[in-house]
Symmetry: C2
Subunit: 295 residues, 2 copies
């Protein structure tokens, strides 16, 4: 049971080379009427203007790994993004934000994805509502030992939007337009929720749950293989025992040796080479979501 | 009439976030036998190790714009890449390199492209030979007021390989393998040429010639429109008067108002936002190439 959502923050440019969110926020800053909903106050923010200016993911440390409470409170954390995180955290508290949307893009072919780090009924109901409007929308449940470090973790409620495939530093019109529409529908839902106007019904929602991360084959730190061509751009498609995962620079094929019917995502994401992630493996789960009216 | 080609330099990592060339050169450095041809001495080089380490295009200035003679000679040019250019230039002279290949990748869907800045018979004959082996290969003739600043311009003979679509910071296996094969065939040609073994025949070669560069619509420096979805990833496909080029963030469509039957390339290349290039327009020309035997 969630009380009214009144203050919503939209963030773009948490990574300064992911242009979709950056240019959406710029559009919202110039056209605040687009975000107006009767019961909501919506705040658009550019998370990391310095990284945006330089068109880099970050200048000193990944901003989206700087929000753990102990890091926010640590007065010795003085890298640029660590300082920025403290300010953003304070801004969210001062404005009493209770729902946060962080807009990202990926070089992986993940289409229109919502990432949840919390499967409470409210989030699931929201995702159900959106997936009925956007049948292509995928819902990814992704919890790791880094979840508490994310910008998203600053509020109890909220989600990450992840769209791709889009190269870093590039605007892709089709996904830009779809992401914009998704945000409007999300705000519509919150407004309807506050008005107690969400229709009571149950819905079967598919959720992909990350359970493992796989690194590139390496020799020391050096990558020695690439995503196999059969797997490239095949996010959310099932792989089975024995399917090719990688091809080494010498042409040897490395196959998948785990359980069948798992669904890889974040396949060949540019920013994850340094994080030792070639892909994340998920299991597909169908959840029956029933609406819980406002308290 | 060209004399024997004896010393060949292969460069990858002229831009430090274009991984195809970087990992090909690393492979060649580890496996020099792959480059062995009877009449050739082949030198693989990583152009900008510092940018490669940081996975950025460049650290201070685009290395591939630092090779004009006046810049090489200018003792006040002390940015990192300007200094590096002087050293590379000297290395090419000391090793008496007479053929240079510079391997790049692009976020544009340009497939397997050879860029020529000189349409002499030797280059055309080489491209004919390669296009008979790789029918998908495109030949782009691209001369601008920056041509003399390119790494490529250090030798009389040579070419740039440009493959895509590949996001910056990403390895794409299919294009990696194709680029590798293309380089082996190129070395085969040079070796056959030195042996006077190139078959005498004429061939019709299609060359796309850049005649104009189009910037994004802007308000001051700020981009205000994206490549239209109909044009995205349509490199080397004809556009005609009235076809959509851009869509603004507000949904207005901007159409092409020039001559019909032009062929855009470098559509939505990430690195060209800062260079004010949304695409390059080319005309398609068919050239009959006849082999000129060694002098």
């Amino acid at each position: 049971m969630i009380k009214k959502i009144e203050k919503v923050a939209l963030f773009g440019g948490t990574h300064g080379n992911e242009l979709t969110g950056i240019y959406l926020i710029k559009k919202f800053l110039k056209n605040p009427h687009l975000l107006k909903r009767e019961t909501l106050k919506v705040f658009p923010f550019l998370s990391n203007p310095k990284a945006i200016e330089l068109s880099v993911r970050y200048t000193e440390i990944d901003l989206n790994r700087c929000f753990a409470s102990e890091d926010i409170e640590n007065l010795d954390n003085i890298l640029y993004e660590q300082l920025l995180a403290k300010t953003i955290h304070q801004k969210l508290r001062d404005n009493q934000i209770n729902f946060l949307v962080d807009i990202h893009s990926t070089t992986s072919a993940m289409g229109l994805t919502i990432i949840l780090s919390d499967q409470n009924d409210f989030h699931l109901q929201l995702c159900s509502y959106l997936s009925l409007i956007y049948p292509e929308l995928k819902v990814l449940y992704y919890v790791s030992n880094e979840t508490n470090k994310l910008l998203r973790s600053n509020t109890e409620l909220g989600l990450t939007i992840e769209v791709g495939a889009i190269p870093q530093g590039v605007l892709e019109a089709e996904l830009f337009i779809k992401t914009e529409q998704l945000i409007y529908s999300l705000l519509d839902f919150l407004d309807k929720y506050n008005h107690n106007e969400i229709e009571k019904k149950s819905h079967n929602l598919v959720v992909y749950e990350v359970f493992e991360r796989i690194d590139y084959p390496r020799d020391g730190e050096e990558v020695i293989a690439m995503i196999h061509p059969n797997l490239q751009s095949k996010d959310y498609q099932a792989i089975n025992f024995g399917d090719p995962l990688f091809i080494t620079f010498n042409g040897e094929i490395i196959t998948y040796q785990g359980d069948s019917n798992v669904y890889p995502v974040f396949i060949n994401e540019a920013a994850y080479y340094e994080k030792s992630i070639a892909m994340c493996l998920t299991r597909k789960r169908e959840i029956t979501v029933t609406f819980n009216p406002i308290q």
